[in-house]
Subunit: 208 residues, 2 copies
């Protein structure tokens, strides 16, 4: 069930015209940002993509930078929420290995189904002027903390190889997953296959 | 021995002023491109970074796009040459596992020492208009072919786990390595440690 959009916020009813326009602006910005990067993203491109008049954007967001910030934050927040929810659903007795495998699946599924947002965050979060990326970067840091905990739990259970420095291991794993947005093509490959291979490779890469 | 520059081409003597200016323009473009992306890279920024007058750039490159193309191609070509040379140096009796480990080291060392070019290629090769990225993308494809061969050789020796689809496995490995340009900080971590952890993780991720 592919999703390509960020749901309207809680404050807004999903069926109000304003909420729909706002969601369309975020989706359009994610798409342009993923393709052209922060410096190359113009309001005129966003307006064209969203089928709104460019000046109308200012009714929703005070500036181009605020709109881009909203997309990066929404993208990072959705990623964080999705992983948190998937982990919370697991039975309390789930092993550290199975929790890590579930996180690999959650990351790939979310990233590759919501790929404009993922690509926008992945390609731009480190390139944005700091005042426009603070919330997104904080959320990405919280996301990384979840992964740090998963690998710590693996180590505590004696399941992390002694030659794997935990933070280097974590970043190599997240890199393998993040980068999939650059090459995965749903028309040519199966997401389930990528998830299965990634789970197996990640567990073998880390465990004794 | 960190390198931050692309050597002048064979056609030019390394000590000619023209060759040095050209190399400085390439280095400056790589730096701006890595930070601002294709759409956001302006000739004025490049000129400032390279300490030349903007109009003088046209003496060396007919357009902004030609200069960016030259950087992406130089970056991809240097990556390809570096790996090819490291593999050629190995004794003929080197095992498929050791050849793969040598490739992991070559990729990381080159990428993290020449990080502006690597970041420019990694972040922009897929976003450039096709007429300006053809040579770079062809070179990246040739680079990927080397990796395909390394993993094929591993499989032929019975050293690729049956649950690892080779092309998915290759892209996850290259993703883990490519992404390191986003997080590795030579001031805070040791490149040798990252290389050692990556070698161990890649071999464990793929082998029975």
């Amino acid at each position: 069930m592919p999703r390509k959009t960020i749901a309207p916020t809680d404050q807004e009813s999903a069926d109000s015209k304003s909420a729909r326009t706002r969601a369309r602006l975020l989706d359009a910005t994610a798409k342009v940002l993923a393709r052209k990067g922060f410096s190359g993203t113009r309001l005129s491109d966003i307006a064209e993509e969203a089928h709104v008049q460019a000046p109308a954007i200012y009714y929703y967001y005070p500036s181009r930078e605020d709109l881009i910030e909203a997309v990066l934050f929404a993208g990072a927040k959705a990623m964080h929420e999705f992983l948190t929810e998937r982990l919370a659903e697991l039975p309390a007795t789930t092993s550290p290995s199975d929790r890590l495998a579930a996180a690999v699946e959650a990351h790939l599924r979310h990233e590759l189904e919501l790929s404009d947002y993922a690509r926008a965050v992945i390609r731009n979060a480190n390139q944005m002027p700091e005042q426009f990326s603070r919330r997104a970067l904080e959320t990405v840091a919280q996301y990384n903390e979840i992964w740090r905990g998963l690998i710590e739990d693996l180590a505590a259970a004696g399941l992390l190889r002694s030659d794997v420095e935990p933070s280097v291991g974590r970043m190599l794993v997240l890199g393998a997953l993040n980068w999939s947005v650059e090459w995965f093509d749903a028309k040519r490959g199966s997401l389930d296959e990528v998830i299965a291979v990634a789970k197996s490779m990640v567990l073998h890469a880390l465990r004794p």
